[in-house]
Amino acid sequence: MQKKITAIIFLLSGLCFGQSSFQFGILPSVNLSKGLPHDFKVNFKIESRQEFKSGTFNGDRKGNYNYLLTDFQTIVAKNVALNKSAALGYFIRFRGEQVVHRSIQQFIINSNYPGLRLSHRFAADQTFTPLKAPVFRLRYRIAKEVALSGQTVDPKEFYLKFSNEYLNEWQGGTYDLEIRVLPFLGYAFNPGGKLELGLDYRLDTFVSGPPRHRFWIGLNFYKSI
C-alpha cells in the first residue's frame, strides 16, 4: 500500500524532485450556507487536515497517520450585482495547542456559459500566529464547473470542477508563491446540497528553496440551509 501511494505521488508531481518534500493526506470539509435578506449570505466551513505520509522524494519518508489541524471559517458575502459578490470573513485554526487567526476579504465574479460556469475569486487575507510575523496573502482563483448531463448542473447529476489558484505570500519581508490545482468530481443531491471528491495539489516554497508538494484528497460537503 505504501509503495502504491509513493508511486502515485511520483506520477502526479511531474517536477524535478531532488530535495523536494511532500505531504500526502486528506482534507475533508463541511460547508454550510444560509441566504439572508437584502442579498446577504453567510457561509460556515469546517475543514481538517490529516496526514498519511510525508518526507522527501529521494530521502526519508514517514508513513504514520497524523492529525494536523482543524480550521473554522465564517464568511459573510453580499451580492453587489447578479453575478458579483463581495465578502468579509474570519478564520481560526487549531494546530495542536497553537491557535491561528486570519481575516479574509474576497471579491467573486461568476459567469454562465452553455455547459459550464466560471468563477473568478480575488482574495486577500492576513494571518496572525503567536510568536510569528504576520502573513499577508493576495490570491486569485479560477474555478470551472462542467455539467456532465445537459447544459447546467441539476439535482441528481454529476459534474466536474477544476480550480487553479495562485497565492502570493509575504511574511517578515520574505516572498513566496503557492500554486494550487484542484480537479474534483461532484454530485448535486439537490440545488443546495453537493458532495465532491478530488485532489487538492499544492506547490510552494519553490521561489527561494526546494519545492514542497502537498497532495490532499479533498472531500467536500456543501449544504445550503
Binding site: P28, S29, V30, N31, S33, P37, H38, D39, N43, K45, I46, S48, Q50, Y67, T70, I75, A77, N79, A81, L82, N83, S85, A87, F94, G96, E97, V99, Q106, I108, N110, N112, R117, S119, R121, A143, E145, S149, G150, Q151, T152, V153, D154, P155, E157, K161, G186, F189, N190, P191, G192, G193, K194, L195, E196, L219, N220, F221, Y222, K223, S224
Partner: protein, 196 residues
C-alpha cells in the same frame, strides 16, 4: 486549546451518510439532461431533420413540476435554434437567438419603458425570437424565411435586474409590438461550491 480530531471526522461521516436524506429537500426540482435521438418521438425528429441544420443536433429532456418536454438545439447560419416538443412529439415553439440591435426601434423603446418601470437597474443577458404556430407553417418559414411570412412572433428576454433590494434573474415574454405577456423569475443556481 485543541480540537478533538475524531469529532470532525465523525461530523463529516455523518454529513456524507445523511446527505441523501437531509438533501431530499423541499425545493422545486428542475432537470435538463441530454438524451439520444432514439429517445425522442419520431414526429419531433422528422420535423427537426426537415429544417436542414448544418450542425449537429443535440436533444435534451427538460423536467419541471408542471411538465416534461424534449428540446432540440442546433445552429443554422450562425444563429442558435431551440425547438421544443411535448412528449408526444407535438411542436410547442421555436426559439432563435438574436441581437437587441435587430429589434425595431419602436419595440425596443416599448420594452425598455416596461423594464425601467419594473427595475431600478437592469441588464440584458439574452434575447430570442419565439415563433409559435402550426407545425407546417413554421416548417415552411424556417426552411425559407425569405419567402414566407413569419408566424406569430414573440420576444423572450432574460434580464438581470435589481428590484427593491435584491438582484434577480427573470425571463420576460413580449409580443411582436413589445407588449409584456409574461414575467417569470429564474432561480439562480447555487454557487457555494464555486465561491468557497
Amino acid at each position: 486549546m485543541s480540537f478533538k480530531p475524531n469529532s470532525l471526522n465523525l461530523l463529516l461521516l455523518l454529513a456524507i451518510l445523511l446527505a441523501p436524506i437531509c438533501c431530499r429537500a423541499q425545493v422545486k426540482v428542475e432537470r435538463e439532461y441530454r438524451i439520444s435521438p432514439e429517445q425522442v418521438p419520431q414526429e419531433a425528429v422528422q420535423f427537426v431533420r426537415a429544417i436542414g441544420f448544418s450542425r449537429r443536433i443535440k436533444w435534451y429532456k427538460e423536467e419541471t413540476e408542471r411538465s416534461t418536454t424534449v428540446e432540440a438545439k442546433s445552429r443554422k447560419e450562425g444563429q442558435k435554434y431551440s425547438i421544443e416538443f411535448n412528449l408526444n412529439g407535438k411542436l410547442e415553439d421555436v426559439e432563435v437567438s438574436m441581437h437587441w440591435r435587430d429589434l425595431d426601434d419602436a419595440v425596443q423603446a416599448y420594452i425598455t419603458k416596461t423594464l425601467d418601470a419594473i427595475f431600478k437597474k437592469h441588464r440584458l443577458i439574452k434575447i430570442q425570437k419565439q415563433f409559435v404556430g402550426a407545425p407546417e407553417q413554421l416548417l415552411q418559414f424556417l426552411q425559407n424565411p425569405d419567402q414566407y411570412a413569419p408566424p406569430t412572433t414573440n420576444y423572450e428576454l432574460v434580464i438581470a435586474g435589481k428590484e427593491k433590494r435584491s438582484f434577480k434573474k427573470y425571463e420576460f415574454l413580449f409580443n411582436a409590438q413589445g407588449v409584456l405577456i409574461k414575467k417569470t423569475e429564474i432561480v439562480v443556481k447555487n454557487t457555494d461550491h464555486l465561491d468557497n
